[in-house]
């Protein structure tokens, strides 16, 4: 009997190579060929990991079709197999893989749609934090607003695409008919956040990405508004109201002091 180490090495090599013979020493009770038996393990490995990817990237699967998705998943699994039993973390890098995978070069937006789906699963498992209660801002005197520094929710992800990635994602997770998507219509920014139990995904209005990026660096509200106003059509009041309603923040501090210390 070969050592346990050698047995597992040859078993693993044969699992990963569908053309390889069944390793020596692996038998069926009847003495007949054990190929179909060994193939159960081969199939379990790849199909269970493809299931994980399909669960993580449902919009991508819908966009390319199940058969193509599973064949593509196999290429990805061979290139980037999981290195941990924590499969909730498996599938990182799938977006970059799609960007560079020649057979999908005609669908250049796939990578950015996959980035939204990856952010969704990160947000789902992220640490919990209570979203900021907008009522706390009622205690802030108007002249102190400019000096507020908002703390972004720990589950928040921001994505920028030169394609209408949010619209494509949305159409493909709603199980609706895919509306005509104008790839020349310009890019979309997306916010992904899980303020409570549900992951929320929204397209961001003009300037909001710059606004949130600036806030995420711990800068003041006036500095963030200034950065965002470089984009035409940025509406500070609308953005602040909608982001608060969405639960994008979990706290704030004030340069003026005093207004936020009673939570």
């Amino acid at each position: 009997m070969p050592s346990l180490a050698d047995t597992q090495l040859s078993f693993t090599r044969a699992l990963r190579d569908p053309a390889a013979p069944v390793p020596a020493g692996i038998i069926a009770w009847s003495g007949n060929a054990p190929k179909r038996r060994f193939d159960v393990y081969r199939n379990n490995v790849y199909s269970s990991l493809a299931d994980v990817l399909a669960g993580r990237y449902p919009a991508i699967q819908r966009l390319v079709g199940e058969e193509f998705f599973r064949a593509m998943a196999r290429v990805f699994i061979d290139a980037k197999p999981p290195t941990s039993p924590m499969l909730m973390q498996y599938g990182e890098g799938f977006a970059a893989f799609l960007d560079a995978f020649p057979p999908v070069a005609e669908l250049p937006y796939l990578g950015d749609v996959a980035r939204i789906e990856w952010a969704w699963s990160r947000a789902y498992h992220a640490g919990d934090a209570q979203p900021l209660d907008p009522a706390r801002l009622h205690a802030v005197v108007p002249e102190a607003f400019a000096g507020l520094r908002f703390v972004l929710h720990p589950s928040l992800h921001l994505l920028t695409s030169r394609f209408p990635a949010f619209s494509i994602w949305h159409a493909n997770v709603e199980d609706a008919a895919m509306p005509p998507i104008d790839l020349g219509a310009g890019g979309e920014d997306t916010i992904v956040v899980r303020p409570r139990l549900s992951v929320e995904v929204r397209a961001l209005p003009a300037g909001a990405r710059q606004f949130l990026d600036t806030l995420s660096r711990g800068e003041r509200l006036d500095a963030a508004a200034e950065a965002a106003s470089a984009t035409d059509g940025f509406d500070l009041e609308l953005n602040l109201r909608e982001l608060l309603r969405l639960g994008a923040f979990c706290d704030f501090t004030s340069d003026e002091g005093g207004a936020d210390d009673n939570n």
Partner: protein, 300 residues
């Protein structure tokens, strides 16, 4: 050691002598809100190793209402290579947080070098493999500070170099390491069919004094190169009739044992699982009275 003393070592968080169900996210809301009459729940710890979100939210709520068992799928206890220390540490954190009544893992390997293969792969039944697995079981029991249960596998191939049968292999590990055993009756049926041995005879030789939990689940049917039946353990359907018969036989020998309904693929509506659990419990009550061992008074 038997189900009493195993449960006793887990103190106030013991799993009762009833049927439990594998907890699925599809049913979180319904179970949390309606608190159905189910003895206990079991989860795969790997699905609760994230920082937060719905998995922890619902598991905390449901743990507040029910005893809980953790059933690992990723430790790769049957690997020749070392256990993943990070994974073991994450498991220890979960055990501390949720205080499960039982922790179980598989007689299988799923990691090779750095690759996690995500399947329960078979182990040759040799003395060398037995020793290696005992070291791993010791390491797990030290990390989680309690005994674990080791589950008999479903297998599709055999190793020409095996030196003993599966029951002897498992019993040797349990006696040497002090772990208990999880008897998966569906796995017994699947493996016995796949390797043409007598499933009832397997149960008759199984050391039931070491059994702390039983699993029941569904399988599917295929055939091998020679057209012989090849059953696949896919947990994607109801418990099959011959598996119920085998379960009755097992309970007849072992007495009442906490019994789990496992249904992981094509997951049905909650009432279907509740009915399967009720069927297991009815059979447990009917058959346990015939057991040599007396039923014990651990039910909460």
């Amino acid at each position: 050691m038997n189900a009493h003393s195993l449960a006793g070592r887990f103190g106030p968080h013991a799993i009762p002598l009833r049927a439990g169900v594998g907890l699925k996210p599809d049913h979180y809301q319904e179970i949390a809100e309606s608190t159905p009459d189910i003895g206990w729940f079991e989860v795969h710890p790997e699905n609760y190793m994230g920082a937060g979100g719905p998995p922890h939210h619902f598991l905390e709520r449901i743990r507040g209402d029910y005893p809980l068992s953790l059933h690992g799928v990723g430790l790769s206890i049957g690997s020749d290579g070392p256990l993943d220390k990070d994974h073991l540490a994450r498991l220890a954190v979960l055990v501390k947080r949720y205080e499960p009544g039982l922790f179980s893992e598989h007689l299988a390997w799923s990691t090779h070098e750095s690759m996690y293969l995500n399947d329960l792969l078979p182990v040759p039944y040799t003395r060398a493999a037995q020793d290696r697995i005992c070291e791993h079981v010791d390491e797990v029991q030290a990390a989680i500070k309690r005994p674990m249960l080791l589950e008999n596998p479903s297998t599709y191939v055999r190793f020409a170099g095996s030196e003993m049968d599966e029951v002897e292999f498992l019993e040797g590990i349990a006696r040497q390491s002090g772990c208990g055993l999880l008897l998966d009756v569906n796995n017994v049926y699947v493996s016995a069919t796949n390797h043409a041995y007598d499933a009832h005879g397997y149960i008759d030789r199984f050391p039931v004094d070491l059994v702390g939990e039983i699993h029941l689940g569904g399988h599917s049917r295929d055939e091998d190169d020679a057209g012989e039946p090849l059953l696949i353990d896919d947990h994607g359907s109801a418990v099959a009739d011959p598996v119920w018969a085998l379960y009755a036989h097992a309970i007849g020998r072992a007495g009442a044992v906490p019994t789990l309904i496992e249904w992981d693929n094509d997951i049905p509506a909650w009432p279907v699982l509740q009915d399967e659990a009720a069927a297991a419990e009815a059979l447990m009550r009917r058959m346990a009275g015939k057991a040599v061992k007396k039923p014990h008074a651990l039910a909460r």
